[in-house]
Symmetry: C2
């Protein structure tokens, strides 16, 4: 079940470095893009950075709307995660062609993808120079959600292999999140 995550803890959803799907919407167009280069940069305010290349359709939608959503897909979604990174959404609605079910976000216009492990609704902090020079977008997390089957007591506990997160290596090859280990305190 999708449950709300306090913004102070939103970083925990992506702290282990999963590959994400960025969704976006502007006017009557929407898109989804695979993005490995998304990272938390602050707890409070909850803040992330994301690389969104200049030649992508997502970049256009994000620049118009000032918003996007970070969806954290599971291993079950492996083929879709790979496919969403290979085709542009300029000429087709990728959410339709990839048969991705969505539900509305609570604050941003970008849709949230069903079946993911976590979701971060993000509003851009305008940094034109940074966007131009490095394709890097700073964004405040304005709402955060997790699947409470895997995110339990503010930490990840993956029960089944198909629930694990994906971590991109190259081409269609990914690592999944592995075992939990605990350091001596």
């Amino acid at each position: 079940m999708r449950v709300s995550v306090p913004l102070r803890r939103a970083y925990k959803l992506i702290n282990h470095g999963p590959t994400t799907l960025i969704t976006s919407r502007a006017e009557d167009r929407r898109n989804v893009m695979t993005a490995a280069w998304v990272m938390a940069i602050d707890f409070e305010p909850a803040r992330v950075v994301a690389v969104i290349a200049a030649d992508t359709f997502t970049r256009k939608l994000v620049e118009v709307s000032g918003e996007f959503a970070v969806n954290v897909p599971t291993a079950k979604m492996l083929d879709v995660v790979y496919a969403a990174g290979k085709v542009s959404g300029e000429d087709e609605d990728k959410l339709t062609s990839l048969a991705l079910a969505t539900s509305p976000a609570s604050i941003v216009g970008a849709p949230l993808l069903e079946g993911c492990a976590a979701w971060l609704e993000c509003r851009i902090v305008p940094e034109p120079q940074l966007q131009e020079r490095y394709d890097l977008f700073v964004a405040d997390v304005v709402a955060a959600w997790a699947d409470d089957a895997s995110f339990v007591e503010s930490t990840w506990r993956f029960e089944r292999d198909e629930d694990r997160t994906l971590h991109h290596l190259s081409g269609g090859v990914f690592l999944t999140s592995g075992d939990i280990v605990k350091a001596k305190s």
Copy 2:
């Protein structure tokens, strides 16, 4: 064995989101700091961003030297990775107190940590506003290295559990990198 990685492929060393150890050196002082918030942002030039908080000793050394090294530790180093994130290096040489063996980097002054899976030597691209506002450092990767027991033919293949990378959840709890999965092309 530590082997050179072409800069064009340096991003692959951290693309799966491992927690890292940032080493630094300036004048006669050096330090090591656990850092989960390090990410590739470009292939060519090979470039990363790293969050280095304003109140850390690493920040001082990095601002003086303009350099740092990103070390990718293995599960075998779990206790050290956790410990290096808990204490400041201002009053003690953490590399000594944590018994971390080092070797010289090829270009930067920061030491490289023995036993890691990969190393990125980084030179800061000055972005004072970004550093001040977000504690975010952009850096060019000027040399990259990997342990060829785990990084084979430009991709990660962890043979033993103790060789896997660590991905921080919270406190002393980490996920290790898991199984390899391949998408349908």
